[in-house]
Subunit: 325 residues, 4 copies
């Protein structure tokens, strides 16, 4: 039976990462396994920022946002010499396996470490919901609620003043934050990274809405799609007549105390990951499949195709545009 | 093609009911179907409290808690004469089909009305997550977040004062609110309607925790399981030594602006229900199956067995009790 | 005794405006005065968008964000001919007095209308807290909480990743939102419209913090002070070494359900305003002075000097910079 | 100049206590004073639970609910022998003065310690707003917002179902939480510890409202005023015809991340307290007087009369009862 494992968080922080770290520590401890936390992701492996986990600490971080054990990017981890240093540090502490919590940027490192003898099991931790091998990712639900609450507030002002708003949300090549937020708020115009509208299409749609006399308009767009959303808002204003402002939600989308379901996914998938490690497995990423957790070979997840959401997006556009006769 | 439909909410109010009503109105309108809202559930059918739906109204209620069109209990709807009055009122308005949003108490009415010529399609609207034919129900996620935030707050005070808390949550024969909330908050002792502890077991578990020196203890119990949770708290205090107070979360669990995922489920399942009605179907209840929506015969859903959660509950107990050596 | 009054909201919407409108309607009704709501501020006066208020409506809007009766800018209200039209419309409805809820942009209109025979009493409704004649304004507390919650979230991410954030908040020439938010969050660097730092000073302060090894830095700045906060963030990054991102909180600061104290101020000052009108007074603006409400001549409020906050700001800088040895 | 001070929290925990502790540590450190935290209030003084404060710790607790340094009751502190032990422990660490954060139960201890040579300065920390020498107390605003959000949620359900709710809130002999919450939510019936209604009066008022056809009723009562609020709800139901349920908000009112204004009061009053200590003063309690902080002799504060709120309460009753013709 395995005696010592490590846990780290990698890539962009996501609400629920702390709940996952907490559950790894608590569940492994319940199973008589010693747990070490690695600070600042793979960077901490290289620098030997490795500390024995404390059970009180594990208790106290469940509800906190961000990642209390730190995260960092480390492109040089692709270099085998760098990874050898990591493995040496792990062996020094007699750590035999790792739970890696992070987005798809952390997959390859987990796979390579497994190949070098350290069994790694990954948890999908990112607000972007861009991990194809899991229906939902840890952090998505919290970020989505933050976005929905922000859009609700902006709608208040738009409705008060007979205006239009262009709102840019995160997603990193995945339109789910934009799409789900649009469903939840009744956004009038939707442009996602997977079902993109041109600037002219956005301008035309808002102008068409203006003709129906609708009091307020909310346009939701994914990040990195238009050169300047403020300039886009000016174009919308010039054509539609609505006073129009752009808001880039930015970094408020990442932090915050995790939602109940993000904590639920974090805790249950963390236990499931530790179960894999106890079973002697590695090179796996945990995913949510319906209401079941599954463990997939990292290599197999890399080629999974992304679900096409064009039809769903168009259906929501049809729903939310009922004003357009 | 169908021309006029009605929508009503039935049973206990749940966050997201308004988002569902909104989506029924907006989606049916987009499909050139006229929508009527029936006030106060089946009671409004009998009393002809039926009004044409307004599209601005539909827009404005998406984010609101409760049910803006009212709900009520009507046991006498089991009487065919009462239902004939309902059908007569619907025919007066030329309403051919109904979307019914509510818990399993509304199933039978929907089935009976379908048999009498009014195609009914139901949406699972209840905070209790006690509808076996759907993985999650509309309102569960919001109520769960309300509970988790309340427990987080109570934990603050228990941790400040070295105390224990007994917290009673809703669930109506279904332990999911209690179980999920315990997972999300690291509750120390868990007793659900599906995996019940005796009062003595609760007292013993808290007393065992006290011996480990843990600073605070949270006990989460489902409603309707113990004659008096305040008396239970006294027993816990007498044995464990922790100053112990009980909190019955009560009606704060029902209201509030719906969470993003409750709105998502409400909106997508509402569209799916209208699609069934357009297809000429009735006697169906919509359920979430993984990430897919399914429409099941009401009769078939009545005999679906409840998932046994004993193993999962015990696993969470094992996780959360890592202090007990 | 006066028989009919109107109520309108003017200028930027602020949380609590609806609670104020609600209290005007309810309190005047309790005093047997008929209330009319004017839609879209002074614009509605000109266009006769005037409707009798409904008591159920008044009940239902207390907790809502924005202004349900609309607001708009109307620079041409400075023209006497335009105002004569407003007075004519008011006389048509036999409305003898007005409660005006809005920022200092609405003062002059209220004063002029009073001089033309319509007694106006104003309530300080703006998130900016820039009305010198009131310690706090309706909407400030809610906006401040929204900002503080946003900064807390951004701090989560900065702390997770060892980064710096530049956060721009509203305030419109008044630094209170920036200053209070900095106090509440422990912001490391503070630049307000009343105690401005140059870009170089900000860069230098963050660079000095970097040398102490502090994990995260939060810089809070008022709006309209730097040509481009994203460019400022780049300069901070270049000098300090922290990865640095700017976030412009923008319109999320205006909306949202009003906080308890914003509702309290809204309701109590609305009753106080109606009391002035009942007493036959006009040309007044209500202000909060400690825990007391006062009614001041509009003319006298125009020359009130703004409180100098330099000393207080410097004290907070001293407090929050304890890392700088 | 003073070199070492201590800080402790006493009595019931209140949101903002951590922000106050944080500011004491940070501000004193900025002033080259060493700070020690005393765990669990006066109990920690006796038991020598005294630790040097850490500046990172001070940073990280600003936004947390409860009191991270613990609190406890210690009636035996009235005994001089017990206090002598406290003074001996403080002298052992060379701690010359104390900041005491807590309600009026901590005043006497602070006064006695001052008389024994340890200058104590108190901060008003309690959710109850029952400290006459301060307009508002640290924690009141957060608790009030928690209550208002809870009542808003309960109103959702009452309005959905045509029901009445009896809601019991905290306050400990002070009606402010009940009164302010009633103002902010438009509660229909209000009974506070300072302006109490008999059970019969409550029943009669709700029954009168029922006759107007109002859809929902909310009754807000202070704690400890009726033997059993559930029995009271039954009486209300029997007379009025509304299905009526009681909710005791209980311990959810104490915890939670502090609001912006609670943190503001905590931080500014903490700095003010340290300033008093630096000036060599003791035996003082800090209070908020309008927007100014004042330091009053503890002895003088003990005899300050409580403000009579009967007139204000009656005015709110008049406002909120506009339905009663």
């Amino acid at each position: 039976m395995i005696k010592k494992i490590g846990v780290l968080t990698s890539g962009g922080d996501a609400p629920g990462m702390n709940a996952a770290v907490s559950a790894v520590i608590r569940y492994a401890s319940s199973n008589k396994i010693e747990v070490f936390v690695i600070k600042d992701g793979y960077k901490g492996l290289i620098n030997d920022w490795i500390e024995q986990a404390d059970i009180n600490y594990a208790q106290n971080i469940i509800a906190l946002g961000g990642t209390a054990i730190g995260s960092a990017r480390l492109p040089e981890f692709a270099d085998i010499k760098v990874r050898e240093k990591a493995v040496a540090n792990l062996k020094k502490h007699a750590i035999e396996a790792l739970v890696v919590i992070g987005g798809d940027g952390s997959y390859m490192g987990a796979q390579r470490l497994t190949e070098m003898g350290i069994n790694c099991v990954g948890l999908p931790g990112t607000i972007d919901n861009d991990i194809v091998s899991s229906d939902y990712t840890i952090g998505f639900d919290t970020a989505l609620n933050t976005i929905v609450q922000a859009i609700d507030k902006i709608r208040d002002t738009m409705q008060s003043h007979n205006r239009a708003a262009v709102i840019e949300v995160m997603g990193n090549q995945c339109g789910d934050l934009a799409l789900y937020a649009s469903i939840a708020t009744g956004a009038d115009v939707i442009s996602t990274s997977e079902s993109k509208l041109t600037e002219q299409e956005i301008v035309d749609q808002v102008t068409a809405i203006a003709k129906t006399g609708k009091r307020s308009v909310v346009v939701v767009v994914s990040e990195k799609m238009y050169p300047d959303v403020h300039a886009l808002a000016e174009k919308v204003e010039a054509s539609s007549g609505y006073v129009t402002r752009a808001t880039v939600l930015g970094h408020i989308q990442r932090g915050g105390s995790p939602s109940a379901m993000d904590r639920h996914l974090a805790v249950t998938s963390a236990m499931f990951a530790v179960d894999q490690i106890i079973a002697g497995k590695g090179g796996l990423y945990i995913g949510l499949d319906g209401t079941k957790l599954v463990a997939r070979d990292i290599n197999s997840t890399l080629n999974m195709p992304r679900k096409d959401k064009t039809e769903e997006t168009n259906k929501i556009r049809f729903l939310n545009a009922q004003f357009l006769k």
